[in-house]
Each structure stands twice: as structure tokens, then as C-alpha cells.
């Protein structure tokens, strides 16, 4: 067991963006980061759900957008970066199964594969690219600069019926590793994390007959992801702590 009680929480005032933040793991991550004192922005498509989560998690920044929409990416980035005057942690959590109900590849619509790739591969790529300047600035200032791409065991195992989703998550996992290698010079970490099977709407959509009581709750998985980020993040130094003053303390002339 790690005992962090003696150290200041490195997530306090960390600026976090979570995609797919209104349900399942994403919703749990919003709560987990907020409980650590982070400044959390989250994105989801449905305005009513976004408003509901914003009401349940006061102080968070709600963003209504579809990450699979190219035109939405910089609008998301502008809002998230304007909110925190930068960004320390990006969690690409929004996912699409592609074909619902799940189907063999032979029965998978081409458009369903495209949808899975758009949401699970292209969107995290675009968002990471748009936010890379901020993440690298965060790393230079000793605040971490970390991307988490939510993965799945379907990214490494070939499960019949999971073709569109599995292929997209395999691509995302591979891309995460290349990002992580290439961004070492900039000090930005890119982690691919498989949270395991969870009791989430996405899981229910994929496997409607699964018994939810046998699945871990998303809060448990969210806590594990937060812990994985903590391990990956560099330890802040004294000089960095000073520069990590809360954004709302800033003033103009």
C-alpha cells in the first residue's frame, strides 16, 4: 500500500480533461479527480447529461461536443485550455463499440468500423495533437503532462464478434506506445490503460446478458487509473510547486 497522506496530493489543482465524462468510467474519473482537488473539464455529446453531471460535480467545466467531429476538436481544446489556462492530464475515455449489437466482421457495416475508428483512434489522436502544446508546457513546468488512452483486453486478444472495437483499440494502444516514445523528449507521458471489465453502459451494450454483480464498479477502475497516473507522473520540485499556483490566483497588471 502506498501512503500519500504525508505528501501534498499531486492532483490538487491539476488541470484534467476527461472525454466521455457523463457515463461509466468517464463519470467515475470526473468524480475521482475532483475528489483529489483537480480542476476537471469533461466532454460528452448529450447536453442534458452533461448539464446533469455538471450539477452533480460543482466546479467542473462541462463541454458539449462529439470528439469524433473534426470541427469540434479545437472548440473543446479552447474551452478546456481557457478554463485551466493549460492542461496537465488528458484522459481519452470516450469509446464507440462500432457495431451494436456486436457482430462478426463479415456482418459488420463498413460505417460501423469507421465509427469505431473515428471515436477510438482518430479522436484521441486529434485531441492529443491539439493539446500537445499545453501538455508539453505542463511537463516543462513540472506539472506532469500525461495522456491516458483507455484501452481494453480486446486491444490485445482477438475476440470473435469484437472486430470493429478490437481493431480500433489495438490501433489506439499501438499509437499510445509510439506517442509515448516520441514525446519522451518533451517530457509528456502517454499511457494505455486497460481498466478491465466494468459495470458500465458500454459493457451492457456489448454483453447485455452479463451479470453486473460480477463486474467491478467503474469507481474502482477510476481509482486504479488515477493511481497509475500518479506513478507515471514526475515528482514535483519546489520550484515547480510555486509555478503551480491555482489559475484563479492570476491577476492582470
Amino acid at each position: 500500500m502506498n501512503d500519500h497522506s504525508q505528501q501534498p496530493d499531486i492532483f490538487r489543482n491539476a488541470r484534467v480533461l476527461v472525454t466521455g465524462g457523463t457515463s461509466g468510467l468517464g463519470r467515475a474519473l470526473v468524480a475521482a479527480f475532483r475528489a483529489h482537488g483537480a480542476r476537471v473539464a469533461f466532454v460528452a455529446r448529450t447536453a442534458a447529461r452533461v448539464a446533469q453531471v455538471a450539477a452533480e460535480e460543482p466546479g467542473t467545466l462541462p463541454i458539449v461536443a462529439d470528439v469524433a467531429d473534426k470541427a469540434a476538436i479545437h472548440a473543446i481544446a479552447l474551452q478546456a485550455l481557457g478554463f485551466g489556462a493549460g492542461l496537465d492530464i488528458l484522459v481519452n475515455n470516450a469509446s464507440s463499440l462500432g457495431q451494436v449489437p456486436l457482430a462478426p466482421l463479415g456482418d459488420t457495416e463498413c460505417e460501423a468500423l469507421e465509427e469505431a475508428l473515428a471515436t477510438n483512434v482518430v479522436a484521441p489522436f486529434r485531441l492529443t495533437k491539439a493539446l500537445l502544446g499545453a501538455l508539453a508546457a505542463s511537463a516543462r513546468e513540472g506539472r506532469g503532462g500525461t495522456v491516458v488512452n483507455v484501452s481494453s483486453d480486446a486491444a490485445v486478444n482477438a475476440y470473435a464478434g469484437w472486430g470493429a472495437y478490437g481493431a480500433s483499440k489495438a490501433a489506439l494502444r499501438h499509437m499510445s506506445r509510439i506517442w509515448d516514445d516520441e514525446l519522451a523528449a518533451a517530457g509528456v507521458r502517454v499511457l494505455s490503460i486497460d481498466p478491465g471489465d466494468m459495470d458500465t453502459p458500454l459493457h451492457a451494450l456489448a454483453l447485455p446478458d452479463a451479470d453486473p454483480s460480477e463486474l467491478q464498479g467503474p469507481a474502482v477502475a477510476a481509482a486504479a487509473i488515477v493511481e497509475a497516473i500518479r506513478v507515471a507522473m514526475p515528482k514535483p520540485t519546489k520550484i515547480d510547486r510555486r509555478s503551480a499556483a491555482p489559475a484563479d490566483a492570476r491577476a492582470i497588471s
Binding site: R140, A185, D248, I252
Partner: protein, 387 residues
């Protein structure tokens, strides 16, 4: 020079004119810009992301169309009811050259302006019919959300196609505070960031809310640049100190970086982390205290950007450079070619202890000569300036 009309940040054909401290010019493909730097130098860039600061809307009292271009923050960055100084035009958009744009309807203090989902109030007229202070009636999150929906990047007639936000963001864009792109930073690719690390060239950033480069009005243009907000992170102060103490040079990417660093350095306590408001003008009379070289666009004589270059090079050198840029058909404006100008002898003469550049350079040369830290020096060729 010819205006670069295509919004491509790093075209393969981009060129760089390097001016060394003795005023000698060398042309190079721009992608090789790092070849002109040395191990121990530090590159400082502006990581401001660009706001979609052009807002089309209506002047509510008259019902007539206007375009407002936000030009400077006049309230805390990220606070509620964001307030800006802005240039306002009448009907039309960027496709009409700025100097041909009609004036806005007469704007009075208290007038309501409607920009799609964003409402604003004229707080003050600023001694010119086109220049006003605007306050937006919105919390910061709502302001950014609506700006993202309705605003467009500030654009000029030399680029035909409408700019998207991604056209205006540099690779390193981090904090959305600028009103025009810090376009010298278009030169920086992520491969350069990795390359700098491999060559032991430092890389650091400031955030500077650069304003408009042109208002379309000669009287207003003379007031540029306006007072501009900036932030200097502790890590950047440390990177500059490291470079200076090791005899390396400070390479500013863009006029905004020169302005912010020289402003911060001129303050009583010197170069320190924190925020500031750059109010000074940099011109032929400026003695640069911190910056040794600038990467910038190919500016026309007479512009405020060109004035700033007079702190780096003599008028005789700049006249020669202008001739070369014209003769060799360099491209100008934000998507155009670039220059790398090393400050001439005035600068090293003005430097004071504890680290004068000549002393540090001498120490550095000695260390290099004794082989202690010679790692990357001269490994890359193409140098424009003798150490």
C-alpha cells in the same frame, strides 16, 4: 515581397535568411533552422494559443453590421465579464483589405453589441472611432464556449480561404490568450523539439497575449503594439539562466518573446517568474539585455515588427536585408518565410555582470577548448555566427 497566401505552417519550400552579428546574410531551407544554433543555446517560444478573436455581429442601437477584432486583454485573463480593447469595422469581412474597410457606426459608451450568442457592451471609446473597450456579459467558461462557436481567427485579405482555428494554432499552442497567432512559432515542429534535446539546445516557453499586427488605419497602427499581458514560468527563467551561465545564447522565437523577456528583465528584480504587462516599445534605441537572436518573419520596413529588428541590426544591415528579401522573392506575412537575426555588437557591449556574454562566451570557449563540454558544438555545420 510577395504575401504568402496559403495557410500552411511549415511548407517544404519555406526559406530562412540568417543575419549574423556582423550583418552577413546566408539563405537556407527553413527546416534547417536549428543548424544555426549551438549546444548550450536556449530557444524561447511563445506558447499562446490563438483566440478566434474576430467577431461578426450587430451594433444594436443602429442595427448595422460590424466586425470586432479583439486586440488586448483589459481584465484578468480567465476571469468573468472578460474585457478587451478592440478594433471595430463596419460591414464586410477579411476579404476586403483592412485599409479599405468602412468605419463602424458611431459607437457610444453603453452601446450594446451582439455577436451571435455573445453580448457585449461598449465601456469606453479610445480616442479613435474604430477603437473601443468592450465588456462581454458572460462568465469565463460561457465566454470561451460561445467564442469557440461564433468567433473566427483574425484574418487578412492576403489569405483567400477562411482560416480554421487549427490554422492559427502553433504546434506548441498551450494557453488561449493571443489575438493573432505568434506566427514565428510556426517554424517549430515536434521533430525540432526532439532535435533540440538531442543537440543539447534548451527549449522553453513564455505565454504572451500578442495583439493585432494591423488595424487598417495609419493613426491606430502607430499605437501598435498595445500593452500585452505575458506570463514567464519558473522553468523558463531557469532555462535562460542555465544558458547564460554556460555561455549559450537566448534565441527568441517571435517579436512577442523579445518584448516579454526584455520587459521582464527591465523590472527592478530582473528576470523572474510571474505575470507582467509589456508596455515598452522595442526599437533602434533599445539595448537588449536578455535576447541574443530572434526568429521572425520577413517584415516590411515601417511596420512595428520591423522597428523591433532595429534593436538587433543597424539600419544599413536592415536595408541590405530588405534588398535581398525583395530580390530573392521571399514570402512575407504570417505563413511566409523567416529570418534569424543575431544581435550585433551593441548588445554584448550593453551586457552587465554577473554574466556578460563576452565573459561567459570566453569561459565557454575555454571549456570547449579543454574538451569538457564540447559534446555537440559544431557538430551540425552551417553556422552563421562565430562564437
Amino acid at each position: 515581397m510577395i504575401a504568402a497566401g496559403h495557410p500552411v505552417q511549415r511548407p517544404a519550400y519555406a526559406r530562412l535568411l540568417v543575419i549574423d552579428a556582423d550583418g552577413r546574410a546566408t539563405a537556407s531551407p527553413r527546416a534547417r533552422w536549428l543548424d544555426f544554433l549551438e549546444s548550450g543555446d536556449v530557444v524561447v517560444a511563445n506558447d499562446a494559443a490563438t483566440l478566434p478573436a474576430s467577431l461578426a455581429g450587430l451594433h444594436a442601437p443602429s442595427g448595422r453590421p460590424i466586425e470586432a477584432r479583439l486586440a488586448a486583454w483589459r481584465s484578468p485573463v480567465g476571469g468573468s465579464n472578460p474585457t478587451f480593447d478592440a478594433i471595430v469595422f463596419g460591414a464586410g469581412d477579411y476579404r476586403t483589405p483592412t485599409e479599405d474597410r468602412p468605419p463602424p457606426p458611431r459607437l457610444e459608451t453603453g452601446d450594446a453589441l451582439v455577436f451571435g450568442p455573445l453580448g457585449a457592451t461598449v465601456m469606453a471609446r479610445l480616442e479613435h472611432p474604430r477603437f473601443v473597450r468592450l465588456r462581454f456579459d458572460a462568465t469565463a467558461p460561457r465566454f470561451f464556449e460561445r467564442l469557440a462557436r461564433h468567433g473566427r481567427p483574425v484574418q487578412y485579405a492576403h489569405v483567400m480561404q477562411p482560416l480554421a482555428m487549427w490554422d492559427a494554432w502553433t504546434s506548441i499552442a498551450a494557453t488561449p490568450v493571443a489575438f493573432e497567432p505568434p506566427s514565428a512559432g510556426f517554424v517549430i515542429a515536434w521533430r525540432d523539439v526532439a532535435s533540440m534535446r538531442a543537440r543539447r539546445i534548451g527549449f522553453a516557453t513564455i505565454t504572451h497575449a500578442g495583439g493585432l499586427s494591423s488595424t487598417g488605419d495609419a493613426t491606430l497602427d502607430r499605437r501598435l503594439p498595445l500593452d500585452e499581458w505575458y506570463r514567464l514560468p519558473a522553468s523558463t527563467v531557469a532555462a535562460i539562466a542555465r544558458a547564460r551561465n554556460g555561455g549559450g545564447r537566448v534565441i527568441a522565437v517571435g517579436t512577442t518573446v523579445v518584448r516579454a523577456l526584455e520587459h521582464a528583465a527591465s523590472r527592478r528584480r530582473g528576470l523572474r517568474q510571474g505575470e507582467g504587462m509589456a508596455t515598452q516599445r522595442i526599437d533602434a534605441r533599445t539595448r537588449l539585455s536578455t535576447v541574443d537572436a530572434i526568429v521572425t518573419g520577413t517584415h516590411e520596413p515601417g511596420s512595428s515588427h520591423h522597428e523591433l529588428l532595429r534593436a538587433f541590426a543597424s539600419d544599413a544591415v536592415l536595408a541590405k536585408v530588405a534588398g535581398t528579401l525583395e530580390r530573392d522573392a521571399f514570402l512575407t506575412h504570417e505563413f511566409g518565410d523567416s529570418m534569424l537575426v543575431f544581435a550585433d555588437a551593441r548588445t554584448s557591449a550593453a551586457r552587465r555582470p554577473p554574466v556578460t556574454s563576452s565573459d561567459a562566451r570566453a569561459q565557454f570557449t575555454q571549456r570547449v577548448a579543454s574538451g569538457i563540454s564540447a559534446t555537440c558544438v559544431r557538430a551540425h555545420g552551417g553556422r552563421a555566427q562565430a562564437a
